[in-house]
C-alpha cells in the first residue's frame, strides 16, 4: 500500500508542476499588465517600469518561471502586487470559504444522490426508479448558473428564506451555514443526478455478480447484502468521480461566488486574472490544482483501500 501511495504521490507532483507551468505560460501570453491597473493613468512610464521591475515582469519568461519555483521551494509565494500582502495570506484567507462550499456541495450531492441511485437499482423499473431517472437527467441538464439564479430569485428575493449575498457573520457558524445553503445547492444539484445515475448503473452491474447471488443463497438479509456487499463495490467508481468532482467544483465555485457575492478562491482568481495580478493568479491556480490532484490521489487511495485488486495492480475486473 505504501508503495502504491508513494508512486501515486510522485505522479501527482509531476502533474501539478506540468499544469502550473502550462498555466504560467498561458497567463503571460495574454496581453495586458498589472502596472496600468495598479498605478492608474496618472502614473509615469518610469513608475510603471519600476513596478514591473519590482514584480520581476521585466525578466524573460523562463527566468520568471524559475523565480516562481525557487520562491515556492523556499515557501515564499510572493507578494500581492496590489495590496503588497503575502500571497499565501491572501490565498489561504479565501480558501476555507471555497472549501466549505465545495465540501457542502459534494457532501450534499452524495447524501442526496447515493440513496436514490441505490434504491433505483434495487427496485429497477419501478415508478420511483423512473422518477429518479427523470429527476437525475433534469438535474444534470439544468446549468448550474440557472439553478443559482432561480434559487436566488425565489428563495432569497421572493420568499426571503435565505440570504442573497455574503458568507455570514464571522465566528457565527450557524449563520455561515445558512449562507452556504443556496450556493451549495446551486453548485451540487447537477452532481446529485450524476451520482444517482452512476450509483444505479454500478449497483445493477454488481447485483448480477456471483458473490451477491451467493450472499443471497446463504440467506443473508437483503439489506446486508445490498449495503455491505453490493454498495461497497458499486461505490468505487463514484468515489473516483467525487475526487474529480471536488477539483471541478473548486473552479466551478466561481459562478456561485459571483452570483451570491461570496468570498472565495474562485472569485479571487477571477479578479486576479482580470487585473493581471500574476502572483495571486499563479498561487490560486497552484492551490486549486494541488487540491484537484490531491482529491484525485485520495480517491485513488480510498479505491485501493476498498478494493485490494487495485493496490496489487490487477485493476478492476
Amino acid at each position: 500500500m505504501l508503495k502504491f501511495i508513494a508512486g501515486r504521490s510522485l505522479l501527482s507532483l509531476l502533474i501539478l508542476m506540468l499544469a502550473v507551468s502550462l498555466l504560467f505560460f498561458m497567463i503571460h501570453m495574454v496581453p495586458g499588465d498589472p502596472s496600468s491597473v495598479i498605478l492608474g493613468p496618472k502614473a509615469s512610464p518610469e513608475l510603471k517600469a519600476e513596478l514591473n521591475a519590482r514584480m520581476g515582469l521585466d525578466k524573460p519568461i523562463l527566468i520568471q518561471l524559475g523565480n516562481f519555483y525557487s520562491g515556492l521551494a523556499r515557501g515564499d509565494l510572493g507578494t500581492d502586487v496590489f495590496s503588497e500582502r503575502q500571497v499565501a495570506d491572501v490565498v489561504f484567507e479565501q480558501l476555507p470559504y471555497t472549501l466549505a462550499l465545495v465540501i457542502a456541495a459534494i457532501g450534499g450531492a452524495s447524501l442526496l444522490g447515493i440513496p436514490p441511485g441505490c434504491f433505483s437499482a434495487v427496485r429497477q423499473n419501478s415508478f420511483l426508479d423512473r422518477l429518479t431517472a427523470i429527476m437525475s437527467v433534469a438535474f444534470i441538464a439544468i446549468p448550474s448558473f440557472v439553478v443559482a439564479l432561480y434559487l436566488l430569485l425565489w428563495l432569497a428575493v421572493k420568499l426571503r428564506w435565505f440570504p442573497a449575498m455574503g458568507a455570514g457573520e464571522e465566528g457565527n457558524y450557524a449563520n455561515q451555514a445558512w449562507h452556504l445553503v443556496l450556493p451549495a445547492i446551486a453548485l451540487g444539484l447537477g452532481w446529485v443526478g450524476y451520482i444517482a445515475r452512476l450509483v444505479r448503473a454500478s449497483m445493477l452491474e454488481v447485483m448480477e455478480e456471483n458473490h451477491i447471488r451467493t450472499a443471497r443463497a446463504f440467506g443473508l438479509p437483503e439489506r446486508t447484502t445490498i449495503i455491505h456487499y453490493a454498495l461497497r463495490i458499486a461505490i468505487l467508481p463514484t468515489v473516483t468521480i467525487l475526487g474529480l468532482g471536488i477539483g471541478a467544483m473548486l473552479s466551478g465555485a466561481l459562478f456561485a461566488e459571483i452570483v451570491f457575492s461570496r468570498p472565495g478562491i474562485g472569485k479571487l482568481l477571477h479578479e486576479a486574472v482580470i487585473t493581471r495580478n500574476y502572483p495571486v493568479v499563479m498561487d490560486s491556480v497552484l492551490v486549486t490544482t494541488a487540491f484537484f490532484v490531491l482529491s484525485t490521489l485520495v480517491s485513488d487511495i480510498i479505491n485501493a483501500a476498498l478494493d485490494p485488486r487495485l493496490r496489487e495492480g490487477r485493476g478492476q475486473s
Binding site: 496581453p31 495586458g32 496600468s36 513608475l47 430569485l153 464571522e170 459571483i258 479571487l268
Partner: protein
C-alpha cells in the same frame, strides 16, 4: 395582491432580465448600495478596496470610504455641486497665486490614540505626497507644491512654486489632500495599504477582511455633528445585478443599478423604495488614431464624426437616460461647453460628401477596439450601424479591459499603429484638468491614443493650469475642447448616468458625478 397588479409583468420582466444579466456575470457597472439595520448602514461597494493610503489610492471604491474616515482641510459640499467648504480647517484662504493660509479647528482627534491634529500633520500629509522617496502615484494632484510652513500648533501656509488652478479642487479638497497623522503613519513604517493606522473623520475603520465587508464605526472622538450611523458595513460586489437582487432581498436598501433596469424599477419599484438618477462623470468618446493611414485625412475623420448618431447610441446603450456630452468636461465643472460643434444626431449627407471629397473608395473598412463590457459593446454596435449607412464598415474587436487598456501604449509594442477607432472612457474629477490632461502631446503613446498633438491645445493646458482666474480657465478649456473636436479625432458621446434604488428609510447624498458621500447619509426624517 401583487399578482393582480397589471404592472407585475414588468416586474417579471425585470427579474428575468436580471437573471439573464447575471448569467453573463462579469464586472458590473460601478455601484454602491445601502441597507439600514437599526442604527447600521449596510452598503455595497462596486469593488474591493486595495489601498487606503492617499499616496497610492486610485479607485473610486476607496474614495467612498476615505471620505468618511479622513478629513481634508476643505471638503466637497453636500449640495450636489463641486463647491467646497471647511472641513478640518476652521479658516482657509488663498493669499495670492501661490500661498494658501489655513488654521485647523482645535480639538480634532486622530483615533487609536494618536492625539490631536496639528499643522505639522498637514505639513506631513502634503509633503509626503510629493516626497520623491515615496513615489506617490498621486503626486501630480499636488501640482507645483513646494512645501508647507507651520506657524503654530494649528496654523500654517501652503506654498506652491507657481500658480496652480486645480490646487483647491484636487490638491486640497479631493482624495490626495487627506490629512494623516505623522505619528501614526510613521509608526507603521511610513506607508500602509488597507488598514489605516488612524483617521479623524466621523467614522473610523473598524475591521477589514479580504473579499468580505469592511466595517466603519461611528468615531466617538469626532467633534462635528454625530455620525448618522453606528456602523457602516461595506460589501464589495462587482456585479450590479447581484446588487439589485440583494436590494430586492432586503439586504441592501440602496443600490446603483444598471441602466437597463431603470425603466422596470421606475414602473414597479420594490417596497418602500424609490429611484434616483444622477448624471455621471465618466467621459465616453469615440477616438480615432490620426496617424493610422486610413484616418490621416481629416475629411475621413470628420465624416466619421458626422456619421455617428450619438442620440441613437444613447437610446440603445443608455436607454435614453444619459445626455449627449459636449466634451470631456461634464456639466457643473469649469470649462463645460454648452454644445458640440457637430450635432449629436450627426449629418449623414455631410459625412458622405466628406468621404467623396476625400476620394475614399467605399466601403471603407475600419477596426474598432472596445472593452467587452455589455454597455460599451452595445454602443459600438450602434456606431457600426450608423457608419454602415455612410459606407464605412466596422469590424469590432472586443477584449477584456486590461488588454484593451494597452492598445495605444507605445511601450507595449507596435500594436498602437493598428489602432483605428476605439471607444474609450475616463472618469473625470472636480477640476477640468483631470478631464483634459490626457490629450496633451506628452501623452501621445500613453493615454493619448488619438495621437492628437496641437500646439495651441498644449499651451492652453499649461496656461489654464497656472491661472487662478475661473472665467479665464472656463474660456480656455472650452476652446481646448473645440480644438479636440475640430481635429476630427473625437466624437464625444456622453458622461453616462448613475441610477440608484433607495429605500425610503434613508436619505442618501451624492457628489455631482453620482458618487456617494457617506458622510451625508442619514436616516430619512433626520436632518443631515
Amino acid at each position: 395582491m401583487n399578482n393582480k397588479n397589471p404592472t407585475s409583468s414588468r416586474r417579471e420582466f425585470l427579474q428575468h432580465s436580471t437573471l439573464a444579466g447575471l448569467g453573463l456575470a462579469g464586472a458590473g457597472i460601478p455601484g454602491i448600495s445601502w441597507a439600514v439595520r437599526g442604527d447600521e448602514l449596510h452598503i455595497r461597494n462596486y469593488n474591493e478596496i486595495v489601498v487606503l493610503d492617499p499616496t497610492f489610492s486610485i479607485s473610486g471604491a476607496e474614495g467612498v470610504i476615505a471620505r468618511a474616515i479622513y478629513q481634508n482641510l476643505l471638503q466637497i459640499k453636500n449640495d450636489g455641486t463641486w463647491d467646497t467648504e471647511l472641513d478640518a480647517a476652521g479658516y482657509f484662504e488663498q493669499l495670492d497665486d501661490t500661498h494658501y493660509a489655513f488654521r485647523l479647528k482645535p480639538g480634532q482627534i486622530f483615533n487609536n490614540g494618536y492625539g490631536e491634529m496639528t499643522a505639522d500633520d498637514v505639513k506631513f500629509s502634503f509633503e509626503r505626497m510629493i516626497d520623491p522617496d515615496i513615489k506617490s502615484i498621486n503626486a501630480p494632484d499636488m501640482g507645483p507644491l513646494s512645501h508647507v510652513e507651520v506657524h503654530g500648533r494649528y496654523s500654517g501656509t501652503i506654498i506652491l512654486h507657481s500658480p496652480y488652478g486645480a490646487f483647491i479642487a484636487i490638491g486640497v479638497a479631493f482624495g490626495s489632500g487627506a490629512i494623516m497623522s505623522r505619528k501614526a503613519v510613521e509608526s507603521v513604517g511610513g506607508r500602509f495599504n488597507i488598514i489605516p493606522p488612524c483617521g479623524s473623520g466621523p467614522y473610523f475603520f473598524k475591521e477589514w477582511r479580504a473579499k468580505r465587508k469592511p466595517i466603519l464605526e461611528r468615531n466617538p472622538s469626532w467633534e462635528g455633528p454625530e455620525a448618522a450611523f453606528s456602523e457602516i458595513h461595506i460589501y464589495p460586489m462587482t456585479d450590479a445585478k447581484s446588487g439589485e437582487m440583494a436590494f430586492e432581498a432586503g439586504q441592501l436598501d440602496c443600490a446603483e443599478i444598471s441602466v437597463e433596469s431603470v425603466e422596470p424599477f421606475e414602473t414597479n419599484p420594490p417596497p418602500n423604495s424609490y429611484l434616483e438618477t444622477h448624471p455621471g462623470g465618466r467621459n465616453f468618446w469615440l477616438g480615432m488614431n490620426m496617424e493610422n493611414p486610413s484616418l490621416r485625412d481629416i475629411r475621413v475623420r470628420q465624416a466619421i464624426q458626422y456619421g455617428v448618431d450619438v442620440e441613437a447610441i444613447l437610446e440603445a446603450a443608455w436607454f435614453g437616460l444619459a445626455e449627449p456630452s459636449t466634451g470631456p468636461i461634464p456639466k457643473g465643472i469649469v470649462g463645460h461647453r454648452p454644445e458640440n460643434l457637430i450635432p449629436p444626431e450627426g449629418d449623414r449627407d455631410k459625412a458622405r460628401a466628406l468621404l467623396k471629397e476625400a476620394g475614399v473608395e467605399l466601403p471603407l473598412r475600419l477596426r474598432l477596439d472596445v472593452n467587452s463590457d455589455a454597455l460599451e459593446r452595445t454602443a459600438v454596435q450602434v456606431i457600426q450601424w450608423s457608419l454602415k449607412k455612410i459606407g464605412v464598415e466596422i469590424e469590432i474587436y472586443a477584449q477584456d479591459n486590461n488588454s484593451f487598456l494597452n492598445i495605444g501604449f507605445e511601450d507595449k509594442g507596435d500594436q498602437w499603429q493598428d489602432v483605428q477607432l476605439f471607444l474609450q472612457s475616463f472618469i473625470g474629477g472636480p477640476d477640468p484638468y483631470y478631464s483634459i490632461v490626457w490629450f496633451i502631446s506628452d501623452q501621445v503613446g500613453q493615454w493619448n491614443w488619438e495621437r492628437f498633438s496641437n500646439e495651441e491645445f498644449d499651451r492652453l493646458n499649461a496656461l489654464a493650469l497656472a491661472t487662478p482666474d475661473v472665467a479665464e480657465r472656463d474660456r480656455m478649456y472650452q476652446r481646448m475642447q473645440d480644438l479636440m473636436e475640430e481635429s476630427g479625432a473625437y466624437r464625444f458621446i456622453t458622461n453616462g448616468v448613475m441610477p440608484y434604488l433607495v429605500r425610503k428609510s434613508i436619505k442618501p447624498s451624492f457628489r455631482p458625478d453620482g458618487y456617494p458621500l457617506l458622510r451625508g447619509f442619514h436616516p430619512a426624517g433626520r436632518q443631515g
